[in-house]
Point group: C2
Chain length 328, copies 2
């Protein structure tokens, strides 16, 4: 009798490794599975391809977000993968699955949110699929982007001694969710949770600077995503949570709930800020120019090392680095 292995026993990343290991190498693939986007040559063009699903009850709940915000958030998550490699998003395909008794106005508002997020990032919905689901709404978003300059910024590329820097103030989306879960008004944190802004132009700007060696967007949480950068370069990354910039609104919302802002900044996902591995000698110039160009903080929150592997917090390996869809 075959020994059945359940997905929950192995988790998300080992599943992906199993699925993709048998895929053939093919002409035209510049970056295959394992980065934020695939990068391919097609009909003379350099394309960035990515997809991202949002499922009711897993990724979103109607009691906390309106249909338009659910659409925006889902679209932003997919578009952010293009930002994470420094590309320009162009076209989106939307698969929409829902039960027959779904409210048409809900679907229209969700689609409007998707379309608005696309427009904000310079992309447009060009097609998709609609189908019945057994229960709940499911949205899957494929994005086609193009390379802007000669350089695509990958997850790989961090070097020993590189600094880890983050844009903006991560953790605000998680802090807003914490307020919503306690039936409190998230106030000015609502924007980060309901209408996150993919860092499209910021990503393109980083890709144009040779001092930036590697990049990823914050979808799983700063510590886990920093770990992805480290793993991709067979290195370690040491993060200092006290260096992560925390907004007053976030500090206030979390402290009133007895939560530690630094911990939420470290583990909260779905911010869609960018983190980069950057050459120490170039950082000051990059920081000054970036902050002037985008009016957004760029802050060193850690550094890469070849002495060990994985992500650590002030030298200590955490028990659990972030969210796993299947071990949960």
């Amino acid at each position: 009798m075959r020994n059945v292995i359940r997905l929950s026993e192995i988790g998300e990343f080992p599943l992906i490794a199993r699925l993709v290991r048998a895929l053939p190498a093919e002409e035209g693939i510049i970056v295959g599975p394992g980065d934020d986007c695939a990068v391919v040559e097609c009909d003379g063009a350099t394309l960035l391809l990515t997809c991202d699903a949002a499922i009711e009850g897993i990724h979103f709940r109607r009691q906390w977000a309106g249909a338009e915000a659910i659409g925006w958030k889902s679209g932003a998550a997919a578009l952010s993968d293009i930002a994470a490699m420094g590309g320009r998003p162009r076209f989106m395909l939307i698969t929409l699955a829902c039960p027959p008794d779904e409210d048409v106005a809900f679907l229209e508002a969700l689609y409007h949110g998707l379309s608005a997020a696309a427009a904000h990032c310079g992309a447009v919905i060009v097609g998709g699929d609609t189908t019945r689901s057994p229960s709940g709404v499911m949205v899957d978003i494929a994005v086609v982007g193009e390379a802007v300059g000669p350089r695509i910024l990958r997850r790989t590329g961090a070097r020993p001694g590189d600094l880890l820097a983050v844009t903006g103030r991560p953790g605000q989306a998680a802090a807003a969710l914490s307020a919503l879960q306690r039936s409190l008004d998230p106030g000015e944190l609502a924007q980060a949770h309901f209408h996150p802004l993919p860092r499209i132009l910021e990503g393109q700007w980083f890709a144009a600077h040779d001092g930036v060696h590697a990049m990823i967007d914050l979808s799983d949480g700063l510590l886990q995503d920093a770990g992805h950068l480290a793993e991709a370069a067979w290195m370690g990354v040491d993060v200092d949570p006290d260096r992560i910039p925390v907004s007053d609104a976030m500090r206030h919302a979390l402290e009133s709930a007895g939560e530690d802002p630094a911990a939420v900044a470290l583990s909260g996902g779905e911010d869609y800020e960018l983190i980069i591995a950057v050459e120490p000698a170039d950082f000051k110039t990059i920081q000054t120019d970036f902050q002037e160009r985008f009016e957004l903080p760029l802050t060193v929150v850690g550094n890469f090392t070849s002495e060990w592997q994985g992500a650590r917090v002030r030298g200590i390996a955490p028990k659990k680095a972030g969210y796993d869809h299947f071990k949960g």
Copy 2:
């Protein structure tokens, strides 16, 4: 109070019309929503983009198909959309949603089937997304293709007097399903149901022939898909079911169940044969050359008219032309 409109009241195609009507026109869109693929210009390339979902309990059931066949079939459905416009499929993104207790071997076999269908059509999986689902497996497949020659064959373009012709022997997938539902062995029909072959090269061949005015693949059933060709050209199409070629295996399987083979050939979906609107004066040459090149029948099964709109069967409008995902 707002008057809630349920999706089941309006159905699939009016939903799509509502969703896409607010989409902005954008530079680079050659064909937007409403055809088998979107066609766009991106970084100098002409791309065909499509996506297609397969959901457990809606599109497939494990008691009738193994994991590998479910993967192949789902992949073939998406790849066939590229065939339907005469393009060349190149790259696929796979979104895979499943519950944590899913059997890893099932997912690996499903993925293998997807990859095999891609390879059969000259395409390759380059990435995707894996996530948790509340229940059951859901696969969504995005395909990026490229234009082969200067011409993309659209749904629009049929002219009054054009002949309607079909490749192969449609209805075999539905006939196999009918056998499976009665717990009978579908025999040689199994191939059509479990491993349908998208007509990639055939589609490219049609696109290279000016006498072929419009094309679509058979996913919803011959009558409904012929209706899509007619509607796209604001015309009517009259189909004669007795002219649809029926294989001996299909006739035998259906007659033993008291079903009419001509009716199944007319309404059965998921065959992924192609139907075309073709210039009558060119048909004989096209037919001879096609059948010699592909060893596959190309058969006239109807004709287009400007005298009325929609799809009719020997002049009579059917009560229900095909499957609607939401009206059931």
